[in-house]
């Protein structure tokens, strides 16, 4: 297909050099480290991150203005966090002129739509200083995660230390050391339906996008995509924030990223086609024009 990885300037495998960040990071601690660096160096005034909601492992958008708040949001939560809902509020109530935001692929799309077609996003378009996109195959409603953890894995939500999707399984690790691996065959039906029309796997529209796929355990694959992204990334690497390796020199490398991206896009394109003939002479909407 050719464009499955989006436009990018460079791609590396990277890991934060900050031990504190890595302790609770999902993989290489890329997002947290970049935001901490950007915050401490005046590149951003604060960032919309995905913090802890009102139930164990429930995600919610959170506006972080300190390193502590950024660190509190480490790790992936695998349920919906409406990041964009705070976009205007961050520039108004919080008064940010330079905003950081992290989100999954569709949220990067929403962000760019908000900038190019700011229908209800007064004064937002020119205030986004650093948008970090996360690789994403699909997301789950909170109740789905609860069902997977409690019913399928047989664990209490509050006992979970880490959730992870990798190597074809959904992994639940508890504070007491249990590890349960659910085959993705089980998780599929719990996925958020809206994800099945998504044609982006590696957050093509982030300034920088990152995810575990393609890099060894504990490392992250990083695409640097825009001028803004490149500027911040180069400064951060120059300041010694990350260990990096050329993506060509790590296993499984870009080959796996490309394969999974194509799998997602092909599957979802097919889904969109099926929607067009869903009923009898009636179809479901296709949002793409």
């Amino acid at each position: 297909m050719g464009m499955e990885l989006g436009k990018y300037k460079t791609c590396v495998s990277a890991r934060s050099t900050d031990k504190e960040i890595l302790k609770k990071a999902q993989d290489g601690g890329i997002v947290t480290s970049l935001f901490v660096y950007a915050l401490e160096n005046g590149i951003i005034d604060g960032a919309i991150v995905s913090g802890q909601g009102d139930r164990p492992w429930k995600a919610r958008p959170y506006i972080a203005t300190t390193k502590e708040e950024l660190l509190a949001a480490r790790g992936t939560k695998y349920n919906i966090s409406p990041q964009i809902s705070w976009l205007k509020e961050a520039t108004r109530s919080y008064g940010f002129d330079k905003l950081g935001i992290v989100g999954v692929c569709c949220q990067m799309q929403a962000l760019r739509k908000a900038q190019l077609y700011p229908v209800g996003m007064r004064d937002v378009p020119d205030k986004v200083a650093l948008a970090i996109g996360i690789f994403c195959m699909e997301n789950f409603p909170y109740k789905s995660i609860q069902q997977l953890v409690e019913d399928h894995a047989g664990q209490k939500m509050q006992a979970v230390k880490k959730m992870e999707i990798g190597k074809g399984k959904f992994w639940v690790t508890t504070e007491r050391g249990n590890t349960i691996a659910l085959p993705l065959k089980i998780t599929h039906k719990y996925e958020q339906p809206g994800c099945h029309v998504c044609l982006d796997y590696v957050s093509n529209l982030g300034d920088i996008s990152t995810g575990s796929v393609g890099s060894p355990d504990g490392w992250s694959t990083v695409f640097v995509r825009t001028k803004k992204g490149e500027e911040t990334w180069n400064k951060a690497v120059g300041a010694g924030l990350f260990e990096t390796k050329p993506i060509e020199q790590v296993k499984p490398g870009l080959e796996l990223v490309t394969k999974l991206a194509n799998e997602k896009i092909t599957k979802n394109k097919k889904h969109i086609e099926e929607r067009a003939t869903f009923g009898v002479n009636k179809g479901l909407r296709n949002p793409y024009i």
Partner: protein, 273 residues
């Protein structure tokens, strides 16, 4: 004069205004039943408005800003407000606007969708019979919508720059501007009603919502929150402006435009420098 008061150097009379750029497009603001908030949003581009007026647009009609009594010929008419069908003047004005403009833009929620004027019931001094207000698209053909209450200064700026490129640019610029404007032109064909319900009908019920939160941020009356990651609208608060639906990335989305976001933002920034 006391000796400690310094006389400031007299400001030199500024240079004579240069000849207007002949390449400009002509545009104007047609004011129907709206609150002038849309026009204020145009002005809220601050220096950007001067840049637009200096280099790209001759502002040929505007009851509040230009000394012109009747709707003149123009390339682009930005119409604010809905049409009171009991107001003969308003009906004539919108018809004339259609006749005399190449492109008619519904500027803001009232012109596009009726917005708050949908709730009008008349009975107000001194024209109590003025009770029925329609979006301009119910009276004339409209080419393009800029929804929102108020539409944002940046959205107006983006459309103005793109309209200029479409009418005066080179082939590449025309294509880019065409791609950019196409979704907003499609909106003009889609219809004249808007509501939080659009999100329910065309996004959520259609299995397209992924809980990004755009709608909640876009809503000017904070009627939308997210419960369990999905939008909930307090429909009694909804003013029917269409911002939530149109901000949603799953209502309409153009890869041609969005994949070029960095280049397009550079072009707009460059045009405004």
């Amino acid at each position: 004069m006391p000796s400690d008061v310094k006389m400031e150097k007299k400001v030199e009379v500024s240079k004579k205004e240069e000849k207007p750029v002949s390449n400009k497009i002509t545009a104007g603001h047609v004011h129907l039943s709206g609150c002038t908030g849309c026009l204020v949003s145009v002005a809220d581009n601050y220096n950007g408005l001067f840049k637009l007026l200096d280099d790209y647009v001759d502002w040929v009609y505007d009851l509040t800003l230009a000394d012109v009594r009747h709707v003149p010929e123009m390339d682009v008419a930005f119409v604010e407000g809905s049409v009171c069908i009991q107001d003969h003047e308003a009906v004539e004005e919108i018809k004339t606007t259609r006749k005399k403009s190449k492109i008619v833009v519904a500027l803001g929620g009232c012109a596009a969708y009726g917005n708050i004027t949908r709730f009008a019931r008349g009975g107000q001094h001194n024209q109590p019979q003025h009770e029925s207000f329609l979006p301009i698209g119910d009276i004339i053909d409209v080419d393009l919508y800029i929804p929102g209450c108020a539409p944002t200064p940046q959205q107006i700026r983006n459309v103005a720059v793109m309209a200029y490129l479409l009418l005066k640019g080179n082939d590449d610029q025309k294509k880019l501007a065409g791609n950019y404007l196409k979704p907003l032109m499609n909106l003009a064909k889609r219809g004249t009603t808007a509501c939080f319900c659009d999100l329910m009908y065309d996004v959520i019920n259609q299995g397209l919502c992924m809980g990004c939160g755009s709608c909640a941020a876009a809503c000017p009356v904070r009627a939308i929150t997210h419960e369990w990651g999905k939008p909930q609208g307090q429909r009694d608060l909804c003013i029917k402006c269409g911002a939530c639906y149109n901000q949603c990335p799953r209502s309409w989305y153009s890869f041609d435009v969005m994949n070029e976001f960095e280049g397009i933002m550079d072009i707009i920034d460059g045009a405004m420098k």
